[in-house]
């Protein structure tokens, strides 16, 4: 009885969530075909098939070419557009923004414009300069950070695009027309293939390396292993791509984070199904706030949860009226729904429980104590507010941002080796460096007091209180001792 009640609640939660998502897989363009295929655009193709044959060749293989969509349909601009330029008699713009794509792909635009991907610039705007400029320079920002996060494209007074901000296909790019993101971040120019965007590589182009080690995590997960072995059976080119119906060999990143599965519709709002924030020093479960204009933002479960109709700040700092709020539980059930196409409910729920427990372990054992110690040192002016000028700050950063991220993402996506490596990296840093540096910064007495307060009295670090408990792992008792 209790169980069936729970199931009903569960279904209610999911169906309410689906109402919010309003998405449809393989959304068809509803615009009348007479809206594209501009006559002047045919001359573009003629000349560009000679002047840039590769680019035109890609387009010729695209669904756009088949549907008679030509260069000018996407690149056309109005004279007063900030980045408009004259080119061979036509007024065009180099950058085709999501807003331009959205002239036809309305559903995708609506989903994408609210997604966490479009916040990729604003989410790190305040903290990015510290990393980019302290460890590199602005050129690192332009050629590194902004290539994934996106640049704020600057159109110079002479009509040219500032070379430090363009070329750029970062996922959160701020376009001259004010729209955010770049469709070509995933759908590479000029074929804009669905199949290509469904490949893990479309995501791991950015989600790889120590900051976001998802490439190595996926590759060393069961999902990635199956994908590698059964690539040819993925049916990637299929128009409809519903897990369990159109393919079943393996899920790619898209399958779980955006894809259609059973009753779950596909969406270009990536991140909607993520209930945890795994990219902070301490993970929190997160609400998804949906504003009346379609914008979205996330709120930690520790923040006050806004009510419908209330006005709160959006990610860009402006105010917005709340239309709906999706709880972390709802978001989780949306994710779990995708699992059920291939796994039993118990299997899926237990796997997700194992993931949750790693996040909680990381939070309690390392994330929170390290954060508390850092705050204590900052508030007592034992550390300067400037980030990364003290070795302890670098250790702290690596602790949560590198090892901590790897462990949590590893657990989320089922890579045992990365889960372990991540947490092992955190442990090594924490015990081997961080705590030592705390004592250096705070002085022996104060340092030890802080460590006692946040570490020694925590059950997670109890093992430190039994120094005589021997274990053969380091060969204790073996070999030649000094006395021999």
């Amino acid at each position: 009885m209790n169980r069936s009640k729970k199931t009903h609640l569960h279904l209610l939660a999911v169906s309410t969530f689906l109402l919010f998502s309003q998405s449809a897989f393989a959304a068809k363009v509803t615009l009348d075909p007479s809206s594209w295929g501009l006559e002047d655009g045919k001359a573009c193709v003629e000349c560009h098939s000679k002047s840039s044959a590769g680019l035109t060749h890609q387009w010729k293989n695209s669904a756009h070419a088949q549907a008679n969509v030509n260069c000018l349909d996407c690149h056309q601009a109005y004279e007063d557009d900030p980045d408009a330029m004259e080119h061979e008699g036509s007024v065009i713009a180099t950058i085709v923004s999501p807003k331009d794509c959205g002239r036809c792909h309305t559903t995708e635009l609506k989903q994408q414009q609210g997604s966490v991907h479009t916040k990729a610039v604003s989410v790190i705007k305040n903290r990015m300069p510290a990393l980019a400029e302290h460890f590199g320079s602005l050129s690192i920002n332009d050629a590194g950070c902004a290539k994934c996060h996106g640049s704020e494209v600057i159109v110079k007074g002479d009509g040219t695009l500032d070379p430090s901000t363009w070329p750029n296909s970062g996922i959160g790019r701020i376009n001259p027309d004010g729209s955010k993101g770049s469709c070509s971040a995933c759908h590479g120019r000029h074929e804009f293939s669905k199949a290509q965007a469904r490949e893990p590589a479309a995501c791991t182009y950015c989600h790889s390396g120590s900051d976001s080690p998802d490439k190595s995590i996926y590759e060393t997960s069961k999902h990635g292993m199956m994908y590698e072995a059964h690539k040819s059976k993925m049916n990637m080119d299929s128009d409809s791509w519903v897990a369990g119906k159109d393919y079943s060999a393996a899920p790619t990143c898209v399958s779980c984070h955006m894809g259609a599965a059973g009753k779950m519709k596909s969406t270009h709002d990536v991140g909607m199904r993520d209930s945890w924030n795994l990219n902070e020093a301490v993970s929190t479960k997160q609400y998804l706030v949906i504003f009346e204009d379609g914008e979205k933002r996330e709120l930690s479960s520790s923040d006050p949860i806004p009510r419908k109709g209330e006005s709160i700040t959006k990610m860009d700092g402006s105010m917005g009226k709340v239309k709906a709020v999706a709880s972390p539980k709802r978001r989780r059930s949306a994710m779990a729904k995708t699992c059920l196409e291939c796994h039993s409910k118990n299997f899926a729920n237990n796997a997700l429980k194992q993931f949750d427990e790693v996040v909680e372990l990381y939070n309690e054992k390392y994330g929170k104590p390290a954060q508390n110690i850092m705050q204590a040192l900052y508030s007592e002016n034992l550390l300067t507010p400037l980030p990364f000028d003290e070795p302890l700050e670098i250790s702290y950063w690596n602790l949560w941002h590198k090892g901590g991220t790897r462990a949590r993402h590893g657990a989320a996506m089922g890579s045992p080796s990365n889960t372990w490596k991540g947490i092992a990296d955190v442990g090594e840093l924490f015990y081997g460096k961080f705590l030592v540096q705390v004592k250096e910064v705070a002085g022996k007495d104060k340092g030890e007091a802080l460590i006692k307060k946040y570490i020694n009295e925590s059950e997670h670090h109890n093992w430190l209180n039994s120094p005589n408990k021997a274990n053969p792992i380091l060969g204790y008792g073996k070999g030649i001792s000094n006395e021999d």
Binding site: A43, E79, E86, G157, T160
Partner: protein
């Protein structure tokens, strides 16, 4: 037999003298115009005005100044028409620039110059378009454009068949300026203000708006 017997009666000695003298003067005048047009078409002459020196700076970095072929185009090669009559006409019309140089805004000031540059570019582009890029064609022949790409010649013969050079090729010698259709004065002004470290909005004042 006297030379007078061969000529009609109304050609008196005076008339003859006037004709010969007039002819020689005429030839002299034309020769003078040719020399004048040549001299006033040189970079050396044009840059005697400081404002033109500002226009020449980017030119000296362009491929028209430093071509692989070694054929250097000087100011007049592009900006003065072929033929003594047209060339003279262009110089006469060009004298209004001289008037403006003396009595107009202080074009010698790099800031004023940069702010007014788009106007100059737009009028120069119109000049080229009206003449079907005639001065470009002094050197460039569509049928002989073999570029780095295999299809460059084909593009010129097929896709650009009905176009004159300047319709596609502008912003290749002087400072880059957008086409008039998409030009935004406020953005241009803001760029110049930033470039010269001026206060925001000061460009408008300098332009007398």
């Amino acid at each position: 037999m006297k030379i007078n017997d061969l000529l009609p009666d109304f050609i008196t000695r005076h008339v003859l003298f006037a004709l010969v003298f007039g002819g020689v003067c005429g030839i002299g005048f034309i020769l003078f115009l040719i020399e004048f047009d040549h001299y006033t078409s040189t970079e050396e002459f044009c840059t005697t005005c400081h404002s033109m020196e500002l226009a020449a700076k980017p030119y000296r970095k362009s491929t028209h100044y430093n071509p692989k072929s070694g054929v250097r185009a000087s100011c007049g090669d592009c900006h003065v028409s072929e033929g003594v009559i047209s060339a003279t006409w262009d110089h006469v019309m060009g004298s209004k620039d001289l008037y403006n140089q003396i009595f107009g805004p202080s074009y010698d000031d790099p800031i004023i110059n940069a702010l007014h540059l788009p106007e100059a570019a737009f009028s120069a582009r119109k000049w080229f378009k009206k003449r079907n890029s005639a001065t470009c064609k002094r050197c460039h022949v569509k049928q002989a454009i073999n570029g780095d790409r295999p299809d460059t010649l084909q593009i010129h013969l097929e896709d650009a068949k009905d176009k004159s050079c300047v319709e596609c090729h502008y912003n290749i010698v002087h400072r880059k300026i957008p086409d008039e259709k998409v030009f935004k004065q406020d953005k241009w002004n803001a760029m110049i203000e930033e470039e010269f470290g001026l206060e925001k909005g000061s460009a408008d004042k300098l332009l007398g708006h």
